[in-house]
Amino acid sequence: MQTVKMVVTGPFAAGKTCFINSVSEIDVVSTERKISSEAERIKETTTVAMDFGRITVDDDLVLYIFGTPGQKRFDFMWEILSEGMLGFIVVVDSTRPETFREAKGILHTFRAYAPTPYVVAANKQYLPDAWTVDDLRIALKLDRNIKMLPCVATDKESVKGVLLELLYSILEEMKAG
């Protein structure tokens, strides 16, 4: 049995756990805890070690999707999670510009850990306060050749679209050698 791994990362409360939940065939193995810090209390629970979801491809191949903890004090987990990944997805809450700086930092860190293909998912695009994908690209200083995809992390089709775009990028990179 071969297993491959993708990582879903992004700032605190960006929607990473929802993203994995939307496509995982198992209930996401979640390590959520009640939030203790007032500053981070914009949701009730958060991921403290990692989430993981699974998609069985066939008898010989399983895809695991790992979610990283978004809170900075758990960033020691990032390097461990990034080991051997096929590629990664950075989920950004399009309505929270205060997290864009952190998203940029996370993106650079993951690129440093493993230079694998990645895409950026601009979550919550349906909300009126959401920054447009073009504006987000500028804010995150994303190169033109990096895919920035509008996304609704709770919507399976939307998440599928993001995963497929990442896989297309991985395939292109493999073909380019």
Partner: protein
Amino acid sequence: MALKGNLRDFSVAQLFNLINLARKTGTLTLEGPDQAAWVSFREGKLIYAQLGSEDGTLTGVLAKAGKLTPRQAKLIKTHAPDKSDQELGLMLINAGYLSQKEILASIRQYVLDIVFQLFTWTDGYFRFDGDVLPPDDRITIRIDLENIIIEGSRRVQELEQLREEIPNLDMALDFVDRPGANIRDVNLNVEEWKVVSYINPKNTIRQIAKANKMSELQIRRIVYGLLQAGLVEIVRPEGMPLPPQAQRIQPLDRQEGASLVNRLIQRIRSL
């Protein structure tokens, strides 16, 4: 008993605040990541600071401030080795070379530069020894601590933000290869040029800082500015090994890898 502990538990800002409120007299010794520092106070006012083995004599201070050339500094050290700082200061004033105001301003700036650097130390042993003061031959000043605490705290906050922007100083920098991004067309100051001259995928940011004797805050500020201007990008230093498991994916040959990814694509489409 001396006031002592670790900066992890009691920050430099908190220590200064305590010294200010209690109007303490004595010397605070801090053992930082690479070197030690000594900061002296009289009745809650900052009077003197010394960092590691830096030349904190008046000659050294004036040379650092650019008031003396390295040659002049060397001459003074050779010809007047036994002169105290006060005597040397008087000599320079009487010779009409520098005014008292210039000398005091240089000392003040020297002390402040050291002290602001200390605010960024977040780990290390500290000890406050009451009534221990700098050597008698040193010229001391009197600076209120309130403004220093405010400015120091602001710099700590700035450093934290810069650490988020540039999380790893062991990465290297390279010039951005795009039309219109020409470093020669940009107005840079001396410090920025010093950094630019070392930019090369072989040099880590940390090495560039060390070569230029810059503090963490100084190098991060400059690199941040260059990044914001789109002139440079952060790159993996040449020769830096990949994480072991990231390499493990390599054995997949191109055909095998493409086949695997195509299977994943088919599966996700069918979800």
